[in-house]
């Protein structure tokens, strides 16, 4: 009788150990799966399982002027990085909810809401949507920036296992040095079904 009792004891201890691993290492409340990055570069279409993403232009700005109304133009805390993107959903209408810049140290930047540019892209199937994302980035973090776009997840706010466009913006150290001192001002754009050219404008000083 001793052998079966020993077997049962070992089995119970093993079950407890497995349960402990499941509860601690496989916590369902933590992000378990990294997004699947599809690397790309400016001017080249990055094909995802649900859409195509092409960064068509990237440039710096000091201000982004509002297109409508009399609001003052917001100034970047660092440098505005303006990323023009062409996005096409390929299978079904798709909300490209998650747009970030990631710097060479792995820090992520959300689109700057004060710039009044696009914050996401809602695309009909097969219909290209043109969008301008504006990010406010620290001047010393410009070189090596990457643009990331994916569907994201409205329910869980994660990129859990999503296919993600990861586009190298091609910003060199020399670009970073010159972009820091930019005084360019552009009109804000959001999304459009027609391609658009960024319009550089001159600001008028408001009397104090």
């Amino acid at each position: 009788m001793r052998a079966p009792r020993l077997t049962a004891t070992v089995a119970i201890l093993a079950a407890l150990a497995v349960g402990n691993v499941i509860n601690t290492r496989l916590d369902v409340n933590t992000e378990q799966l990294h997004p699947v990055a599809e690397e790309g570069r400016i001017g080249k279409v990055t094909h995802l399982t649900y859409g195509d993403v092409e960064v068509t232009d990237v440039r710096p700005a000091e201000y982004v002027a509002p297109r409508f109304g009399d609001d003052l133009s917001p100034k970047a805390g660092g440098v505005f990085v303006l990323v023009s993107v062409k996005v096409t959903a390929t299978r079904e209408p798709t909300l490209f909810l998650s747009a970030y810049l990631e710097d060479s140290r792995g820090r992520r930047y959300r689109a700057a809401s004060k710039a009044n540019c696009a914050i996401n892209v809602d695309g009909g199937t097969g219909i290209p949507v043109y969008a301008l994302f504006c990010f406010d980035v620290a001047p010393q973090a410009l070189a090596g920036l990457r643009f990331e776009l994916s569907r994201g997840n409205l329910i869980y706010s994660t990129l859990n296992g999503d296919h993600l466009a990861d586009v190298d913006l091609g910003i060199s150290d020399a670009d970073e040095a010159s972009w820091r001192d930019t005084d360019a001002v552009y009109l804000a754009e959001t999304t459009s079904l027609e391609p658009f050219e960024l319009q550089e404008v001159t600001l008028d000083q408001v009397p104090s």
Binding site: E92, G124, T125, P128, I155
Partner: protein, 204 residues
């Protein structure tokens, strides 16, 4: 003297219960499966060929509890139109390389049925889905200004028609427009209110 009982024999009831317990644990952890089911189009409520009515009764929950809607819908014709009603802009031609496809649907339902808030979509021969913009067509399934009752909310009870609107007639036609890239072959029209249920209308 009886033979010693084996471990397997002594625990046969628990061993038999083990697959049931594993199934229960899996089901209890399947919230991702629930989300997948509830957010996709997985349950065909009714179907019909072009020119025939699909008769539909769908149960759903509104703010007061479980209820249902009963209707009939028929695909009359697909066509193309020159202008598209952009939601936040003036109507204009569709973008280059894109057709504005009109979907003429004939409807029948009692005036007390809640039919607002539907989505109309086209599916091509590759399974790609194109949806009518809900901002451009908030009334893709009901007549404009005679949309019938809304879902109950606030002080508005079930079956109440918004103030200032006439009751909906028993039959009517809608023609939402969907943007579709040129050269695509549309094979189906889908209509739905609450996923995962949908109505499939074949294009002939």
């Amino acid at each position: 003297m009886t033979a010693p009982t084996s471990w397997w024999r002594a625990n046969r009831i628990w061993l038999a219960a083990l697959p049931v317990a594993l199934a229960a644990v899996t089901a209890a952890s399947s919230y991702n499966l629930d989300a997948w089911w509830d957010t996709g189009l997985h349950r065909e409520l009714a179907s019909a060929s072009q020119g025939d009515f699909a008769e539909v009764t769908e149960s759903y929950d509104d703010g007061l509890g479980q209820t249902s809607r009963t209707l009939a819908v028929r695909l009359d014709e697909l066509g193309t139109v020159d202008t598209y009603p952009y939601p936040y802009d003036d109507p204009g031609p569709p973008p280059d390389g894109v057709d504005a496809v009109s979907v003429r649907l004939r409807w029948r339902a009692e005036p007390d049925q809640v039919l607002r808030g539907c989505t109309v979509a086209l599916v091509d021969d590759q399974g790609r889905r194109y949806e009518a913009d809900s901002a451009a067509y908030p009334t893709a399934c009901v007549p404009e200004n005679r949309g019938g009752p809304t879902d109950p909310h606030g002080d508005v009870g079930r079956g109440e028609v918004p103030e200032g609107e006439q009751p909906r007639r028993p039959s009517w036609t809608t023609t939402p427009v969907v943007l579709v890239p040129q050269g695509r072959t549309i094979t189906q029209v889908l209509v739905w209110w609450d996923r995962p249920g949908f109505v499939r209308l074949s294009v002939s």
